[in-house]
């Protein structure tokens, strides 16, 4: 299972993050500092994509392992962060896919059912409704909305993280928003 997660980074959805031209004076970015500084925000990103905290933590660990194994390394913290973000998105897709397969064949209880129920205690009604609606969106639209409204990324950065064109980002965002507004409009209007 673990191996499948790792290969997913390279083979499943080959996404090359944007790497800036290295500046002449560099030691490589310090992976431990990167981990300390960005672990929390990356796990939060993953939680918004896969729903349960256990899978989210797994995804982030695997993303750092992937960066660690990358030969040549990355010199710019921004480029490394972009790489990690792209890995988190890819690995989250694998989690969702595995979960779907498990559901189909084994009919096991969903692992996230209990976890999100507990976290939901802390959420307001309108937020819970919005999150439920986001969960029902097609995968691409959900990813675009999370990266845009939670990570605060630009269209170009989202395109790089998802390996799609800026135009696709724009259309996914507007379709996703429109769908959400259709579902939630009545409640909030």
């Amino acid at each position: 299972m673990g191996v499948a997660v790792l290969t997913a980074v390279a083979a499943d959805n080959p996404v090359q993050p944007v790497v800036d031209e290295p500046t002449p004076r560099t030691e490589l970015i310090d992976l431990h500092t990167l981990y300390t500084n960005h672990w929390r925000s990356l796990v939060r990103l993953a939680v918004l994509l896969v729903d349960d905290i256990a899978s989210a933590e797994d995804v982030v660990q695997d993303a750092f392992v992937a960066l660690h194994k990358r030969s040549g390394g990355l010199r710019e913290p921004e480029a490394a962060l972009a790489y990690l973000r792209a890995s988190v998105v890819n690995l989250s897709r694998s989690v969702l896919r595995r979960r779907q397969v498990a559901r189909k064949h084994l009919r096991v209880a969903e692992p996230e059912a209990t976890a999100s129920a507990d976290h939901d205690v802390l959420l307001r009604d309108e937020h819970r409704a919005a999150l439920t609606a986001v969960k029902a969106l097609p995968r691409h639209q959900r990813e675009v909305l999370v990266l845009r409204y939670w990570s605060g990324l630009s269209e170009r950065e989202i395109a790089a993280a998802l390996g799609i064109s800026a135009g696709s980002v724009k259309s996914a965002a507007s379709r996703g928003l429109a769908a959400l507004q259709r579902v939630l409009g009545g409640e909030f209007g």
Binding site: R25, T26, L28, H119, L122, L180
Partner: protein, 375 residues
Amino acid sequence: MTENEFERTLREAFDARARAAVGDQVSPPPPRFATGARSARRHRRARLLAPLAAAAAVIGVVSSVAALRDDSSGDRHEVGVGGQNSTVSSTGSPDLRPTTAGSLPSSSPQMAAVRQVHIKLHNADGAVYGVGMPVIAYFSGMIAESKTLSAATSITVNGKPCHGAWYFERSSALPGYPLEGHLRMSTYWPAHAKIHVGLDTGGRSAGQGRTFDDSLTLDFSTGAQTIAVVDDKTHRMTVTSDGKKVGTFPVSLGSASTPTMSGTKVIMAKGDPICMSGPGYDSCDIRYTQRLSYDGEYLHAAPWNLENIKAGIDSSHGTTNLLPDDAKRLFGVLEVGDIVRYPNASGPLMPVSAGLGDWNVPWKVWLLGGAIPTR
């Protein structure tokens, strides 16, 4: 509901969910890449603990709300920030902003138009820093003016009010926090002092219809005044602590093609060991490192470069190479926030944004406020 309000609800919903799942006080587990257990299945522990953590968070909210009710003075809702990188909302909940904690229902018409700016502090409550450490604040949105923030900021050193000033730059350090402000006095903090910073910002204007969502406090101490001066002429680093000489250590700085930046730097982080790589090198066993810039300047042990260190030949990729024994000793002496000066290094002057280049900005320029003018 307009599109903007809708987007804001979405943003808040994501934020509430993310913070409920991973609170600001949660610290990262040991990284898997460091243990060599490359793809171990995660333990069931976290899954079992999650409901407990959520329950604890609920209890935390309830008890702190109760504590606020008991507080008879009641007019100020300043709450100390706790733990590392943490912010605490005025309701006392560590994970939720006031808007998400239900104290300000966004359905009320007068609140709907107001955009809230959240402040997160880098510095940790109760920490001991070197005398050069600025207070670092990240802002969740751009602010249009900083006069209100400056007026709401108070600093006391050992209980005495002191004057400090903010300096702003755009930032990519934290996702969702596009602006970074540094607060410092005109001189280094006094050594062995207790420093209190109050940001009475909750509900105050950030300009153009925006308000700060929260008030914060920060309490930290300073240690000894430890200053290292690296002389690129003599290739020696001299370290003093509270005016007493700790020692003089031979160094090798950056070569002509990869020069070390000049100016005053501040130790940002310590690590032992860490990974470094670049053209022709890739090692995860770099010992006794003290970080000085985002792009990779460090003080560290360089057992592969003994001859150049002893001979005073600059040959590194920009880092300050030390003899292993010296690096080990200095790792025990220097702390985050200590000053490392490079008065005559061959590289350009270190800017603020390259790390903690705060002391390279003259006080008169600092007072202008940088990206968000303070006057």
